[in-house]
C-alpha cells in the first residue's frame, strides 16, 4: 500500500524499527531508532506493535504527500507538525486523507521525530530488521536515507475506530541538557581516580561530530593511568570510550561493533534512548550508578515500554 510520496526528503530521514539484534559478531551494528521510546510510543498510538518500522526524521523534517487514507502518529522532539499548513498535535493518532501534505516546523529542542502509520511501514526484512544502516547500504528503502520522489509503503491494516493520545505525564520533554546515568566499566581501571571524578562531575558538550554512529564530546579532559589503547573488544550503544585525547565518545546505534579505546562507563538503556535526542551544543552530565541500580531503572523502563499500549487515553 503506497502511503507517502516524498516531496522533500528533509535533512536525514530513514526507516527504523527497534534494531537488528544477533549479528554483532559478524560486525553488523544494531541500528534501529535512536530514541527507541518515541518510536514505540508512535507505534502503539496507531495500535501497531512497539517494534514496527516507522520513519526517523532528523533535525529538518521532510514534506510528505499522502497517497491514501491512513492513520498516523508523530512523536519525539517538539516540532509542530502540520497537515496542509494547519498545526496538528503530536503524541496522538491522526487521520490523514489522500492528497494531504504533512510538513514539519523547526525542532526547538531534541533532534529526532518519528512518524508511524497504521499497519507499519513496509520495507524488506534484512537480517530480521527493517532498519536502515546507511554505511552498510542495506535495510530500509534501498539502504539509504529518503530522497525526493521515493514512495513510502505501508502494510494494509484495518483502520482504528477510535483515536488515542499519550497521557501528558508520559510525554518526554527534551531540553538542551541531558542528565544520564552510567555504570562504571568495563575498562574503568585504565583511568585515574581523578579522571573518573572528572567524568562524573563535569558538563560535556556535544560537538558537531554527532550522528547515528556516535557523539564526540567536548569538556574537561579525562585522565588515563597510562596507555589509552586496548586490544579491541565489543561495543554496544551507550558505551563511552575515551581515546588518548581525554575527550569522551558516546557510542550510538550505527557505530562499528568493536573498538580499541578503553570504555570508562556504559549508559543505562533508558538514558541511551533519551540521548537519541541530543544534538550539537547540547550538554550531557553523567552520574554513576551501580549495576543493580541501573537494572532497577531498566526494569521500570521495560514495564513502561511494554505497557504503553495500556496507558493510552481516547482523544476527543
Amino acid at each position: 500500500m503506497k502511503v507517502f510520496n516524498v516531496t522533500k526528503p528533509g535533512f536525514f530521514t530513514t526507516v527504523q524499527d527497534l534494531g537488528r539484534y544477533g549479528y554483532l559478531k559478524y560486525g553488523v551494528p544494531i541500528s534501529g531508532a535512536m530514541d527507541a521510546f518515541s518510536l514505540a510510543a508512535a507505534n502503539v498510538l496507531v495500535r501497531n506493535k512497539p517494534g514496527d518500522a516507522g520513519l526517523e526524521i532528523t533535525l529538518i523534517g521532510p514534506e510528505l504527500l499522502v497517497l491514501t487514507k491512513v492513520q498516523v502518529a508523530i512523536t519525539g522532539a517538539a516540532v509542530s507538525p502540520k497537515i496542509d499548513g494547519q498545526d496538528v498535535p503530536m503524541w496522538q493518532t491522526l487521520n490523514l486523507e489522500e492528497r494531504d501534505v504533512v510538513s514539519f516546523s523547526r525542532m526547538e529542542s531534541g533532534c529526532r521525530v518519528y512518524i508511524t502509520v497504521r499497519g507499519g511501514i513496509e520495507a524488506p526484512l534484512v537480517l530480521g530488521s527493517r532498519s536502515t544502516y546507511v554505511r552498510g547500504e542495506f535495510g530500509g528503502i534501498n539502504g539509504r536515507q529518503l530522497r525526493t520522489g521515493d514512495i513510502v509503503e505501508g502494510f494494509e491494516a484495518e483502520p482504528l475506530d477510535a483515536l488515542y493520545k499519550m497521557p501528558e505525564e508520559l510525554v518526554p520533554k527534551f531540553t538542551h541538557r541531558f542528565q544520564v546515568q552510567a555504570v562504571l566499566g568495563p575498562q574503568a581501571d585504565m583511568f585515574t581516580e581523578e579522571g573518573i571524578d572528572t567524568f562524573f562531575s563535569s558538563e560535556y558538550r556535544v560537538t558537531p561530530e554527532a550522528d547515528r554512529m556516535g557523539y564526540r564530546l567536548e569538556g574537561p579532559l579525562i585522565e588515563h593511568k597510562g596507555k589509552a589503547d586496548i586490544v579491541s573488544d565489543a561495543l554496544l550503544h551507550g558505551s563511552v570510550q575515551v581515546p588518548k585525547n581525554g575527550k569522551p565518545i558516546v557510542i550510538m546505534r550505527d557505530a562499528q561493533t568493536t573498538g580499541g579505546y578503553p570504555k570508562i562507563a556504559v549508559i543505562v538503556t533508558p538514558d541511551v534512548s533519551l540521548l537519541g535526542q541530543a544534538k550539537p551544543n547540547d550538554v550531557i552530565e553523567f552520574s554513576e550508578v551501580t549495576v543493580s541500580q541501573a537494572q532497577e531503572r531498566l526494569r521500570e523502563y521495560s514495564r513502561l515500554f511494554n505497557g504503553l499500549n495500556r496507558m493510552l487515553v481516547k482523544a476527543v
Partner: protein
C-alpha cells in the same frame, strides 16, 4: 593490567544488559581460543536469557535479557561453564582459501612493504600466502575479519595518512594483523592485494563468509585468472564463492 593472559576470566559489568568476560589484554592465540571455546560452550548450555554473544580478540560480550536472568546469576552460570572448559588444543575449524591477486593496481602498497623490509615483492607474497591465519574477530565494518598473525618479516605499520577509499576485496596488513575489506571503506592498512570473494552479504544468514575461529589461507592468482573470475561473476556463470 599488562599481564597479557589471565589465568581465569575477568568478569566485568557492561552496563545494565551485558556482561564482559576478558581472558587477556593482548592478541594471543590461547586467549582467543578461550574466548571462542567459552562462546561455544555457552551456546551449547542454552542459558535462558542469553541473547547474543560477541567474541573478540580477547573477550566475550554476553548480552542478556534482565527479565529472564540477573547479572549475578549469569556470572555464576558462566563461571561454572568456564571452569569446565577442557584444555583442548584441537578445535574443529573451517578452512577457507582466499584467492588473491597481489601487487599492481590491486595492491598499491606491496612495493612499499617489500622495500621497507628489504625484500622482493615476490618474497612478501610468499610469506603472506605461506601460512594459515586465524579469524580472531569481525568488526570495523560488517564482515571485516581481523586475521593473525602476520610473520614479523612483513609486519608493517599502518599508513600515516589513511586512504579515504579502499576498494572492496582489498587485502591489507596492519602490524601483525592482516584483513580483507568486505566493502569500499576508508582505511589505513597497507594494501597488498585483492580478492573477488564476497565477504559480506546482508541477504544471507549468516551474513559473513568468515566467523571467529575460522582458518584462512591466501592463495596467489594471476591478474589474468582474477579477471577471468571477475568476468564469470559479472556474467553470472560463477557465483559459487559463498560457502558455509
Amino acid at each position: 593490567m599488562g599481564t597479557g593472559k589471565y589465568t581465569s576470566g575477568r568478569y566485568l559489568p557492561f552496563g545494565d544488559s551485558a556482561l564482559l568476560v576478558e581472558f587477556g589484554d593482548t592478541i594471543d592465540l590461547d586467549v582467543n581460543r578461550k574466548v571462542i571455546a567459552l562462546s561455544k560452550a555457552i551456546l551449547k548450555a542454552r542459558i535462558q536469557g542469553v541473547e547474543e554473544l560477541v567474541p573478540t580478540y580477547r573477550s566475550l560480550l554476553i548480552r542478556y535479557d534482565l527479565a529472564k536472568i540477573g547479572y549475578k546469576q549469569l556470572v555464576l552460570r558462566v563461571k561454572d561453564i568456564e571452569s569446565e572448559l577442557k584444555e583442548s588444543k584441537l578445535e574443529a575449524v573451517r578452512r577457507i582459501v582466499v584467492p588473491v591477486v597481489y601487487g599492481g593496481q590491486y595492491g598499491p602498497d606491496l612495493s612499499y612493504v617489500a622495500q621497507f623490509h628489504g625484500l622482493t615483492e615476490e618474497q612478501v607474497i610468499q610469506i603472506h600466502s605461506g601460512r594459515e591465519y586465524r579469524v580472531y574477530m569481525l568488526g570495523f565494518v560488517a564482515g571485516f575479519p581481523y586475521l593473525g598473525e602476520v610473520a614479523d618479516e612483513i609486519a608493517t605499520a599502518r599508513l600515516e595518512t589513511p586512504r579515504l577509499k579502499v576498494a572492496a576485496g582489498s587485502v591489507g596488513i596492519a602490524e601483525k594483523q592482516t584483513g580483507i575489506y568486505p566493502c569500499e571503506a576508508p582505511g589505513g592498512w597497507q594494501i597488498i592485494g585483492r580478492t573477488h570473494l564476497r565477504l559480506f552479504n546482508p541477504q544471507m544468514d549468516p551474513p559473513a563468509l568468515l566467523k571467529p575461529g575460522d582458518s584462512v589461507e591466501f592463495q596467489q592468482v594471476s591478474e589474468k585468472e582474477y579477471k577471468k573470475i571477475e568476468e564469470a561473476i559479472l556474467n553470472g556463470t560463477s557465483g559459487a564463492f559463498w560457502k558455509e
